[in-house]
Symmetry: C2
Subunit: 298 residues, 2 copies
């Protein structure tokens, strides 16, 4: 299948690698506003050719938009306008409601399948692209009732070819859940990096940093160009998640301050339950041989 | 060297493995108040024999205390009282000022070398013990002027035999720096686990959790028995670090709330600097062939 990827960074580049490996894409056309990234992507063999946005969406079967969500707001309507009327469009961004709302009256709304594969690293650009980045992870498809069945089926098949499981949610539900499970951890790491750097000498941080600090603060390395638009577009739920987090931190702090050590133990023991949650002993993910899917939509 | 390890969990057990491997310890005696842990440690071959505290400290050259810091407060004076007067004692706990103060007038204060190796995992008990847990990490030695030179030299040699670098700090400085670089990341992870579990269905957490959430929340799996006494004993600096962290989170939240996106970008770009700090390009760690040490004490 002739596939166009718009945005050849960590996500678009990793997607290109796996779509080629799985033979889902037979020809890969790349678009990138950053000329240097476009050149690197070609040199790395991520795509077969680089083209302008307009040319790249004209004669292709599948278009994947993998650019920061603020840029996607500008690019998505242009893609829908200029592309072949039978083509399928999907995207990879972490905030979905604003994107979906922005094209809800577009005559080609049914060609679009809003998606969010829950995978990434703290690195960016074509050189950060990794094989199997998505394998075993979940792809969230949003508002599936608003996509044409053939377009939805194609995107499901694409994510399955990457080894992904699929969850269906409304755009609003996905924005709420990812605020807590993804956007909040990023905000927590950014603030941790800023707090520690404000108070400790950088040599002391380096010398004392063990695996624990490195792991907790890792997401603070993530690029601003990708992340500030996510916080901006999903501001309602990101603020809610930060308020809940600050409340729990305050409670933790107060239990120490007021020497309520039984309370402190209780907070730690409750937090420890995340081990079982992450081991997934209670997951009700539906499994069958063909695909693993889960419907969260009420 | 005949060595007694009090506490055969993650830290004491890992220490036993490496002291045996490096041949620093020729005979290993273990003490553990938890009979099951003592039995496991013997079965795993971590130690050669299990004994009572009193017997185990009588005829030994080196005693390492690797138990939660609240328990250490009770055990350390007993060890100093009962041991051979030429023996050396060290410990592995993460909060040091209260420990040091508690025995400052003990006639055998000079036999004690307060230490904190900056390494661990989120797991606990003898089965969590790992080879090379300490390799390449830093061991902080506190208030070195209050230890006898022969005792200090022995503990330096022990940590070097584990492949560790050594930093010297006052107990107060170590408590401040580890509050920010270690205790705060643990508190941040505990509160993150509690916040997310309070707001999201556990199946959704499992299904959506990608590497980013898992990494940021990992320390929330750490045991209460080890961690609540650290927060308690280092409460002054832990509270300071939590207040600084909450202030930075609030600033992050407010920049989103008030749509100050330039400010938000600035906060993210500043946080990104942690990448360079952790890569250590600016570390001034003194290196020579014998040992790598750094004096932070002013």
């Amino acid at each position: 299948m002739k596939t166009t990827i718009i945005g050849l960074g960590l996500i678009g580049g990793s997607l290109a690698k796996d779509l080629r490996k799985s033979k889902f894409a037979t020809e890969l056309i790349g678009v990138d506003a950053n000329k240097n990234h476009a050149k690197q992507a070609l040199e790395l063999g991520l795509v077969d050719q680089i083209n302008t946005l307009e040319e790249a969406v004209k004669n292709t079967d599948l278009i994947i938009i993998a650019i920061p969500v603020d840029k996607e707001l500008e690019v998505l309507p242009v893609v829908l306008d200029k592309m072949n009327g039978n083509a399928t469009v999907s995207d990879m961004g972490s905030a979905k409601k604003i994107i979906v709302d922005s094209i809800k009256n577009h005559p080609r709304r049914k060609n679009f399948v809003p998606a969010h594969p829950m995978s990434g690293t703290e690195n960016s650009g074509p050189t950060a692209a990794l094989e199997d980045l998505f394998k075993g992870k979940i792809a969230i498809l949003c508002d599936q009732e608003n996509s044409g069945p053939q377009h939805l089926a194609l995107i499901e098949k694409m994510f399955q070819s990457l080894g992904m499981n699929i969850a269906y949610m409304s755009a609003d539900e996905q924005d709420h859940s990812t605020a807590f499970v993804s956007h909040l951890p990023h905000a927590a790491a950014y603030a941790l990096a800023n707090a520690v750097q404000a108070k400790e000498d950088r040599n002391i941080i380096f010398d004392l940093a063990s695996g624990g600090f490195r792991s907790t603060v890792r997401l603070a390395k993530s690029s601003s160009s990708m992340w500030h638009p996510i916080f901006q577009q999903n501001s309602k739920y990101v603020i809610e998640s930060l308020d809940v987090y600050i409340k729990h931190l305050q409670e933790f702090r107060d239990s120490i301050k007021h020497e309520q050590y039984d309370k402190l133990k209780e907070l730690i023991v409750n937090a420890n339950k995340i081990r079982v949650v992450l081991d997934g002993e209670n997951s009700h993910m539906i499994k069958n041989e063909e695909k693993i899917t889960k419907f969260y939509t009420k």
